[in-house]
Structures are given as structure tokens and as C-alpha cells.
């Protein structure tokens, strides 16, 4: 029989830590700090709006780009939070999670041979999605000494004649790094000068703990016309299972993405879209409450890890800390596997998010304080036993 699998699919690397996942799966008694989703339930008023839409029989497709009502609310959100004008009719696309929006944005913009710059460590889908278009992913290993922010020098070094797209993902999964206005200004200037399009994955934007609101690169001069902002409801409103995200950007790009989305997906889930309207209209207080709680746990985790001798830069976003284990003379994978086996605690090796994650661990604080306490106690024991 001929090979049923396409070459491009076959050549995509499976997620590097599949093996580690399998060990975790076989250990039901193990606890975990390994999730990438909120521990909160979706606020009831949002769930209730979804239920109500079902009761009303809103069980049909929406338009390809999503409910106009929702697209308008998203446009309002960008006006309210960032002072940006987007036309809800033409510059917003509702997708199945932020993940789909990333895929569609890359498909819409990258041709075979184009280079897509991807700073790592980062979420696992950017590189494969870029490869699926035939584009060449060019990764930049970000440095802990820069708090895992992208510097203008690093970007300039990666740019070639073929560079078309830069993917920015801040606040970042897995590092928790943020890019503040001053950091983004330097990047924006280069993108304008070198005519680079930015896909800015801001799914964790609401979960920023600098004390200043999240800044999107689209706010900066010359950037709105060359930025596709990816966002969604999963992290901010604790709605991961609803699978709802969106992209906002220049009409030309969004319309082409909508065309692809129409063929691949038809439209995002209708129930989720009605729930999302409620989230945007009446969800600010929920987000503020969750953000405060995450921030408390973040401070607790960073301090406790540092106190037990794991160096940990201050992560000001998302719900992850990214401590270093470089001084322990073992790989991230080794550390995670031994921790799991001896203390029944799962954390994610940094290498799951790119080779430059070697020497780091991703620890999620989307857990209750008592769970965090228990888990950190186990890490402490593990470290003591190493010595």
C-alpha cells in the first residue's frame, strides 16, 4: 500500500514531550501543576447566556465570520481598552479558539519559502502551522537575562529578505513574560521599517500583573495596518472548553482569513458565541477578580520557588512561572520525570516549548492555594533529596 500520509504531515514533529505525557497518564495518583487552562469555572452568567441561547433554539450556523453582535462587542472592547477602531463588520473574525485564528492567519499570509519569525519558548502550534503553509519558521531563542522579552537586536539578527511575518506572543505561555510599551515600541519601529506583518497572540492579555493594562502592539504608530491580533475567551473568562477565539486586523487580511475559515470550519460554535457576547458585556468584574487571585498565587509561587533555591525571573503575565534548573546538572525532561516518579508531581519541561526551554520548567498557578502549597512542598522535598 502506498503511504497514506502526506510528506508534510509526516515531517511534522509530534509534540516533543509525548513520552512524558504518557508516563503521567499511567500515574492516576499523581498531582499536577501542568495545566494550561484556568481553574475557575466559567462565570455563571456567561454559562447561563449559553444555556438561554439553546433554550431559545439558537442552534443554527451563524454567518461565517461570526455573530455580528459579537463582532461589534469585540470592536467595542478594542475601543474601550486600547483606543483602537475596528469595524465589526469587516475587521473581526470569530474562530474556534485562538488556535484556529493562528492557523488561518498564517495560511492567509505565508507562502512557501516565506520566513516566519517565531521567538521561543512559545506555544507549540506556531512552528507546525507555519510549516503547513510551506513557510520557513525562523526561531529566536529568547534569553532569561532579558526576562524572555524580544529585543530589537535579536529581531534584527533574524530578519532576512524573505521575512514576512513575526509572531509575537505576550503575555507568554510558557514563560509568563510580558512586553511593555517601551519594549514593543522598538519592535514596532523595526516592523514598520522592514515591512513585516505581525501576528500578535494576546490570548493572555487580560492576565497582566505589571499594574499597567496590557498594551497591544497594534496600538503603536503604523502598526494597526500591519498587525493581526489574536485573542479569545479561554483564558480571560475561563472558557477553554467553549472553543472560542477571534482575530482582529486589517480588512484585507481578515477577509482572506474568513474565506479559509469558511471552507475549513464554516463558523464558530453558536452557543459559545452567545455566551461570549455576555462575557464581553458584563464580564469585566469576573476578569478583575480572577486576575487578582492569579496575581496572589503568582507572588506566592515566585517567592516560594526562589526561597527553595530555584532561580525564577519575575513573570508578569499569563499564569505560569518558568524557574531555572540549570544549576542542577540535569535536563528539564530528566528533572520532570524524576519529580514525577519520586514525588508524584507533574510539571512541564521547558523543552516542550522549544529547544531553548532547556534548563527550565513551566509551572502553572491555575490551582488553588492549598494545591499549590502541597505541590511546592513536594518540590522542596525533591530538591532536598537531590543534595
Amino acid at each position: 500500500m502506498r503511504d497514506p500520509i502526506s510528506k508534510v504531515t509526516r515531517d511534522l514533529h509530534p509534540s516533543g514531550i509525548r513520552k512524558f505525557f504518557d508516563i503521567v497518564a499511567e500515574m492516576p495518583e499523581a498531582i499536577s501543576l501542568g495545566v494550561g487552562e484556568p481553574d475557575f469555572d466559567t462565570p455563571w452568567h456567561i454559562r447561563e447566556a449559553g444555556i438561554y441561547s439553546l433554550e431559545k433554539g439558537r442552534t443554527f450556523y451563524t454567518s461565517n465570520s461570526g455573530l455580528l453582535e459579537l463582532r461589534q462587542e469585540i470592536a467595542n472592547y478594542y475601543k474601550r481598552k486600547h483606543g483602537l477602531d475596528y469595524n465589526g463588520k469587516t475587521e473581526v473574525l470569530i474562530t474556534v479558539g485562538g488556535s484556529e485564528a493562528i492557523d488561518m492567519a498564517l495560511r492567509a499570509m505565508a507562502d512557501p519559502g516565506d520566513e516566519v519569525i517565531i521567538p521561543e519558548p512559545c506555544y507549540v502550534s506556531y512552528v507546525p502551522c507555519a510549516k503547513l503553509t510551506g513557510a520557513v519558521p525562523v526561531t529566536i531563542p529568547l534569553q532569561e537575562k532579558n526576562e524572555f522579552r524580544l529585543t530589537p537586536e535579536e529581531l534584527l539578527d533574524a530578519i532576512t529578505e524573505k521575512t514576512k511575518v513575526l509572531i509575537l506572543a505576550f503575555p507568554n505561555n510558557p514563560t509568563g513574560a510580558v512586553m511593555e510599551r517601551e519594549d514593543l515600541e522598538k519592535i514596532a519601529k523595526i516592523c514598520v521599517e522592514r515591512d513585516i506583518i505581525v501576528i500578535s497572540d494576546e490570548i493572555y492579555g487580560e492576565l497582566t500583573y505589571t499594574g499597567n493594562p496590557h498594551v497591544t502592539i497594534a496600538e503603536l504608530p503604523g502598526m494597526q495596518e500591519r498587525t493581526v491580533v489574536i485573542n479569545g475567551f479561554s483564558k480571560a473568562y475561563a472558557m477553554t472548553g467553549w472553543r472560542l477565539g477571534y482575530a482582529v486586523g486589517p480588512e484585507e487580511i481578515i477577509q482572506q482569513m474568513t474565506k479559509l475559515h469558511q471552507y475549513a470550519i464554516m463558523c464558530a460554535p453558536t452557543t459559545s458565541q452567545y455566551a461570549a457576547v455576555e462575557a464581553l458585556r458584563n464580564g469585566d468584574a469576573d476578569v478583575a477578580k480572577m486576575r487578582e487571585s492569579y496575581n496572589q498565587r503568582r507572588r506566592y509561587l515566585v517567592k516560594t520557588l526562589r526561597d527553595m533555591g530555584l532561580p525564577c525571573f519575575e513573570p508578569y503575565g499569563a499564569f505560569y512561572v518558568f524557574p531555572s534548573i540549570q544549576h542542577l546538572n540535569m535536563t528539564s525532561d530528566e528533572f520532570a520525570t524524576r519529580l514525577l516518579e519520586s514525588k508524584k508531581l507533574a510539571v512541564v519541561p521547558g523543552t516542550a516549548f522549544g529547544d531553548c526551554g532547556e534548563g527550565f520548567l513551566r509551572i502553572s498557578y491555575a490551582y488553588s492555594m492549598s494545591e499549590l502549597k502541597e505541590a511546592l512542598g513536594r518540590i522542596q522535598e525533591f530538591l532536598l533529596e537531590l543534595n
Binding site: S15, F20, F21, V24, A30, S32, G34, V35, G36, E37, D39, Y123, V124, N173, P174, E292, Q296, R297, R299, Y300, K303, T304, A346, V348, A352, F353, M369
Partner: protein, 160 residues
């Protein structure tokens, strides 16, 4: 920091000072001082434990009593409220808007005990013109906590 501290301990008054300071990103001494001030000025009025007595052998009955009163010259709501809330049986007492004036929560050992209290202590207060007693049959949620609900983490243990 004050409000964040209060929100934090409102939901977990047992968190120890060290963790409290860490969660707030503050020095222990500063948090201790702030707690002391808040206790002294009455902002923190007490530390209680939310108990689901249904899980115990102790018999308890709670009732909500609506009370209508007639205020008089020099006898306003505050004065009347004091006559009501000074009874140990009264757990909570609120002045409210709407069809009646006070809402009082009583705790007793039996329904009869509560009925006796209403008829022999509350109703006879000279300003009280009427009461309506509602016995609580079942408590589902108190102070923001759903009673008897055990939260199970249904998430996958690792997601990227």
C-alpha cells in the same frame, strides 16, 4: 493593598501571616500592622468559620423573621433595631427596603423554641406591629459557598 487584603481574608481567614504577606507582595510586619489597625477600627469585625451543621448530630433550626415596626418621635429604626438585636438568639439583623422594615435571622434548637421567642420576645416589643416567620428548610449556599459541594478538578492534567 487594604482592600485586596480584606478580599483575601474574607474568603480564607486562616491563611497565615507569612503566606498573606507573600500573596500581597508585602512585608509581614506591614501586613500585621494593617491587620491590627483594621481590627481596632472595626473594619475587621470578627473571624468566623462556615460550618455545615447538617453534617453533625447537633440539632439547629434557623428562621428568617420579617418585622414591621412603627417608628415614633425620638424612637427611630436604630433604637428599635437595638431592642431586637440585643437578644442572643438573633444572629443577624438588617434594616431593609420594601414591604417590611427589618429582616432578622434567628437560631434556635427547635422550631418551638423559635416560635416561643417570636411570640414572647419579639412581637411584644411595643414598636413592633407585625412579624412573619420563615423557617429555613435547607441551606444551599451561604457566604458565597455552596454547601456540601465538593469541587472535582475535571481538567486534563497536562495541557500546553
Amino acid at each position: 493593598m487594604k482592600e485586596e487584603l480584606l478580599r483575601l481574608i474574607e474568603n480564607n481567614s486562616r491563611i497565615d501571616l507569612k503566606d498573606l504577606a507573600t500573596c500581597l507582595g508585602a512585608e509581614e510586619a506591614a501586613v500585621a500592622n494593617m491587620l491590627q489597625e483594621l481590627e481596632q477600627d472595626g473594619t475587621i469585625s470578627g473571624y468566623y468559620t462556615l460550618i455545615n451543621w447538617d453534617n453533625t448530630d447537633e440539632e439547629k433550626v434557623d428562621a428568617l423573621i420579617e418585622i414591621n415596626v412603627n417608628t415614633q418621635r425620638e424612637v427611630g429604626f436604630d433604637t428599635i433595631a437595638e431592642r431586637i438585636y440585643k437578644f442572643d438568639e438573633v444572629k443577624s439583623c438588617y434594616l431593609i427596603s420594601g414591604a417590611y422594615d427589618f429582616l432578622v435571622m434567628l437560631e434556635g434548637k427547635t422550631m418551638r423554641e423559635i416560635a416561643n421567642f417570636v411570640s414572647s420576645k419579639l412581637s411584644p416589643i411595643e414598636y413592633v406591629t407585625g412579624t412573619a416567620t420563615h423557617f429555613i428548610m435547607k441551606r444551599y449556599k451561604d457566604y458565597g459557598t455552596v454547601l456540601g459541594a465538593k469541587k472535582i478538578d475535571e481538567r486534563e492534567r497536562i495541557t500546553l
